[in-house]
């Protein structure tokens, strides 16, 4: 690569401020922050939906909301938390942290990165716009055919869902290509694949899962959309279509999706534990390979979501055994985390509390998972609250705990402010107690016969006491979220000194540069010789490094801001949006014109051209 960028006039040095600078930004850190803010707002919305659900289930024969509204609430709660909460919260860390941990200036394709964000935002807005039509999706997050067919779901509800998820899929795929290339190609000089921080490794595996699983759900959604818009019979039994094909396509995506949700969290925890134990991650190679093995086998277990469909004993046995095999690498991960803590010097800062809480809760979720890997037992458990308990232990006790720990860990780097430790500890304990109070009773109520997705239960069933506990727990979780927001607000407004570059004695490269980093991250690309690059640099330097000082803003030329990704994203959203309520040719046409204009303007734009200011 002998070409040099010096021939280009150093274009964009200094980050501008103001709303337009955010709309046109291609800086991975700003895009990361936008992902974070957007996803957090969607997460709060999903949480509010959950609170309404919990209030409806406070007592038997609840009448707070109607059956129809309840069905919309649980569908949107699941859809929101998965596609608009946990996934983009992970994407926030991918965006902000992968380049920093790799010692890179940005992602491989900064404008594509902006495009991903805008498509994600528009997809999230479209799917939620359904509320204003009183037609939020109501077929469950799994949208089983043939309930979602035009005959049984004639309204706009399912249209919003198929279109919204397709748009979100475009965002995920574009981002996955981007991060895949970033990890392969933008590692700092000397950083081999087996030197990468564990968060980067787990994120990398996540991108592979995204690349391979999202096309499958896209096809399923496209076929469903065509069924609904044009009257084909892909999932309509009357025309020979088979609803079970939907289930296979959905879970071929849906099970890898579970790992898409949890693997980044494995990575975050694997970053936090060593730093606050003051010793390296135990069994690095085992951690990498177990993560890869989980992802690989994760493509061969989808039908364990379908034991009750009656697949026959051979398929049942195969998928049961494959599922149990996944428990082995998962166990290896847990043991290695405990091995990391073992013999360390543990500092119970807030990120560490959340990381330890993650392990404790994830063990629970993993063990209940083994319980329904057994098909005959699963015939009693599936579609009951036992399953709801299980996946909340994995996705809330797992993913949300880790993502929250990551927020406390990386907040100083991203904002330049330290969060309050006292409020952080309070946040942790409220969440721990609230979480267990909400979700532990669900195991019991599920085994005692309470099905999922029911808008009410009878007095005879005697589910009231346990449901009341769950509702109290849910409000404690809401309170924990308020404490978190108060923590952010309080420290944001305080006049504390700016956070140091390396507040936790970090092991990875993001702590080598000022908090928050300058636009170009690294004035010079760091040279890396092994794992835990920053610890090694500090050891060589005799223990500590001096606080890095900001360098001149024009030291490194960075790509210009661009509004073209936003135009292309609008094109995608409009084109697909034309499928809401049938197929509107003129909407597709307008969308395609906008899309092609955006793509061409983007393709022929020189990102380093002099801006003329």
């Amino acid at each position: 690569m002998a070409t040099t960028a010096l021939e280009h006039a150093p274009a964009h040095h200094e980050e501008a401020t103001g709303i337009w600078s955010w709309i046109t930004t291609v800086d991975h850190k700003r895009i990361g922050i936008m992902y974070g803010v957007t996803a957090f707002l969607f997460f709060l919305l999903g949480g509010l939906e959950a609170l309404v659900i919990r209030m409806q289930l406070w007592g038997p024969d609840g009448r707070l909301v109607s059956a129809e509204v309840y069905n919309q609430l649980f569908t949107m709660h699941g859809t929101t938390m998965i596609f608009l909460g946990v996934m983009p919260l992970s994407a926030m860390y991918f965006n902000y942290m992968i380049p920093l941990q790799l010692g890179a200036r940005d992602v491989a394709f900064p404008r594509l990165n902006a495009f991903s964000y805008w498509v994600f935002l528009l997809g999230g807005l479209i799917i939620n716009a359904s509320w204003f039509f009183g037609a939020a999706p109501n077929g469950g997050w799994f949208g089983y055919a043939n309930l979602t067919s035009a005959q049984y779901s004639p309204g706009l509800n399912i249209d919003f869902w198929t279109v919204g998820l397709q748009i979100l899929g475009v965002a995920s795929l574009a981002a996955a290509v981007n991060f895949f290339v970033t990890v392969i190609n933008l590692r700092a000089p000397g950083m081999g694949m087996m030197h990468m921080p564990m968060f980067v490794w787990m994120s990398f595996i996540t991108q592979i899962l995204l690349l391979l699983s999202f096309p499958i759900i896209t096809v399923a959604l496209v076929l469903l959309m065509i069924d609904r818009s044009f009257g084909t019979h892909f999932f309509v039994p009357a025309g020979g279509g088979d609803p079970i094909l939907w289930q296979h396509l959905f879970w071929l995506f849906g099970h890898p999706e579970v790992y898409i949700l949890i693997l980044p969290s494995f990575g975050i925890v694997s970053e936090i534990l060593p730093v606050f134990s003051r010793k390296p991650l135990f069994g690095y190679a085992a951690m990498v390979f177990s993560g890869a093995f989980i992802a690989f086998v994760g493509f061969g277990v989808w039908a364990h979501h379908m034991f009750s469909t009656g697949m026959g004993p051979f398929a049942d046995a195969f998928f049961a055994l494959a599922t149990m095999i996944i428990a082995i690498p998962t166990g290896v991960k847990i043991f290695n985390w405990i091995g990391t803590v073992w013999g360390g010097k543990l500092e119970f800062k807030t990120p560490m509390l959340f990381a330890l809480g993650f392990i404790a809760m994830f063990i629970m979720g993993g063990l209940s998972g083994v319980m329904h890997a057994s098909p005959p037992a699963d015939l009693q458990q599936t579609d009951t609250y036992f399953i709801v308990a299980h996946f909340h232990y994995v996705l809330f006790g797992g993913a949300i705990f880790a993502l929250t720990g990551g927020a406390y860990y990386w907040w100083p780097k991203m904002s330049g402010k330290m969060l309050d430790e006292g409020l952080g500890t309070l946040h942790f304990w409220l969440m721990m107690i609230g979480f267990n109070l909400t979700f532990f009773p669900m195991h019991i109520v599920g085994l005692n016969g309470m099905p999922r997705r029911v808008y009410t239960y009878s007095a005879e069933s005697n589910f009231e006491l346990l449901n009341k506990m769950e509702t109290v727990g849910a409000f404690l979780l809401g309170l924990a979220m308020l404490v978190f927001m108060w923590n952010i607000l309080k420290t944001w407004r305080s006049h504390q000194p700016p956070a140091p570059a390396d507040p936790w004695n970090g092991a990875t490269l993001e702590w080598a540069i000022p908090s928050p980093p300058q636009h170009f991250n690294f004035p010079a690309l760091p040279r890396v010789h092994g794992r835990d690059a920053l610890w090694e640099m500090k050891r060589v330097a005799g223990g500590t490094l001096p606080e890095p000082t900001p360098v001149a803003h024009d030291a490194v030329p960075m790509p210009n801001p661009s509004w073209k990704p936003l135009v292309a994203a609008l094109g995608v959203a409009i084109t697909l949006g034309g499928f809401i309520g049938g197929s509107h040719l003129w909407v597709h046409a307008v969308g395609l014109v906008v899309l092609f204009y955006g793509v061409y303007a983007w393709a022929f734009e020189d990102p380093f051209a002099a801006t003329g200011h």
Partner: protein
């Protein structure tokens, strides 16, 4: 931060107490009529045994691993003056050990799992009572082809005799569940799924649909009524007796006769058959007066509930296909009397 472990204990105590209370609640499954934890038939017993074996292993692993975690947290907490930890990077022997141990435990679960899978997928032999189960939005229909019976909302079975269910749906996917007797199976249009069980006790048990199937999935319930073989034969014989025509019987209660007239005049008969036959659109109501519950097993069969239901079905079950016919109180009372007279 060194007080944190102490605080952990202080907060941990009430949490543990609460957990114990919840466990106690879970260990009293007899309080829950829909529980899966008290198997009352062979099939459910298989699933329950397997579940308890897995739960035992899970509990052992839970205690050991969470114990190790908590011990490490307590033991290796930062104390003033503690030395920097040894920078270990891993241990191959340990990695092998903690790969093999879970594999061994999983094998202990896998063997009985596979055995039970094949056992529970066997078809029941001859002599089983055949019942066809058909899901509808949002009620269940039961046909006994050998007995010529078609009914709804209540699956009546004889205890001590294997019942073989052939299950399908008339519209969307549902899932038929017998929490006390067997597991569940989803039902698909145009294909049949099978479940079987031999009830060990008599009783009237609640159950409900467990696959989301539209707006009233939450109130798509049914009863499983297990009776002695003699009572079952009596029920079947009574079912096949010719339907009563109250209008032709001048000695009958005039309210009942008026009810029968209204039942036809108001068009109820357009959807509900009052005689042993294949159903029309709605559930077959032959002998509805003898059922313990109405409205897909969600309301007890009393005069008040029946009146409430007939007067405005949309009030209890919004979105149900049965319309509000705008009946007066007198008309409602007459139809209720007629339906209740169909014992």
């Amino acid at each position: 931060m060194s007080q944190t472990p102490v605080r952990r204990l202080r907060l941990g105590a009430p949490v543990l107490l609460l957990a114990a209370a919840m466990l106690a609640a879970g260990c009293a499954p007899d309080q829950y009529p829909q529980t899966t934890l008290i198997p009352r038939a062979d099939f459910a017993r298989e699933a329950d045994t397997l579940m308890r074996q897995t739960l035992l292993w899970a509990t052992i692993v839970f205690v050991l691993v969470e114990g190790a975690l908590l011990f490490a947290i307590w033991k290796f907490r930062n104390r003033p003056g503690a030395a920097e930890p040894v920078q270990t990077h891993g241990n191959t022997t340990l990695e092998i050990v903690w790969t093999i141990i879970p594999a061994f435990i999983l094998a202990m679960i896998a063997v009985p799992t596979v055995r039970t899978i094949f056992k529970t997928s066997q078809r029941p032999g001859p002599g089983a009572l055949q019942v066809e189960v058909i899901g509808h939005q949002w009620w269940w229909e039961f046909r006994y082809p050998e007995l010529g019976i078609t009914t709804a909302g209540e699956l009546v079975v004889p205890s001590g005799r294997t019942v073989s269910l052939e299950m399908t749906t008339a519209d969307v996917l549902h899932s038929f569940w017998l929490p006390q007797f067997a597991g569940k199976r989803d039902v698909f249009p145009g294909r049949y799924n099978n479940l079987w069980f031999k009830a060990e006790v008599e009783g009237n048990f609640p159950a409900q649909c467990v696959e989301f199937c539209g707006v009233q999935h939450g109130r798509m319930a049914y009863r499983i009524v297990s009776v002695t073989p003699e009572a079952f034969d009596a029920w079947a014989a009574n079912f096949n007796a010719p339907p009563k025509d109250f209008t032709a019987d001048s000695t009958a209660n005039p309210l009942v006769r008026e009810g029968q007239r209204l039942f036809t005049a108001k068009g109820c008969g357009g959807c509900h058959a009052m005689y042993p036959a294949l159903p029309l659109i709605g559930p077959n109501l032959h002998h509805v007066g003898s059922r313990s519950h109405i409205a897909a097993g969600t309301l007890e069969n009393t005069d008040e509930n029946l009146a409430r239901w007939i007067k405005n079905p949309q009030e209890w079950k919004t979105g149900v296909l049965m319309p509000n016919l705008g009946l007066t109180d007198q008309e409602t009372a007459a139809i209720v009397a007629y339906l209740r007279a169909n014992q």
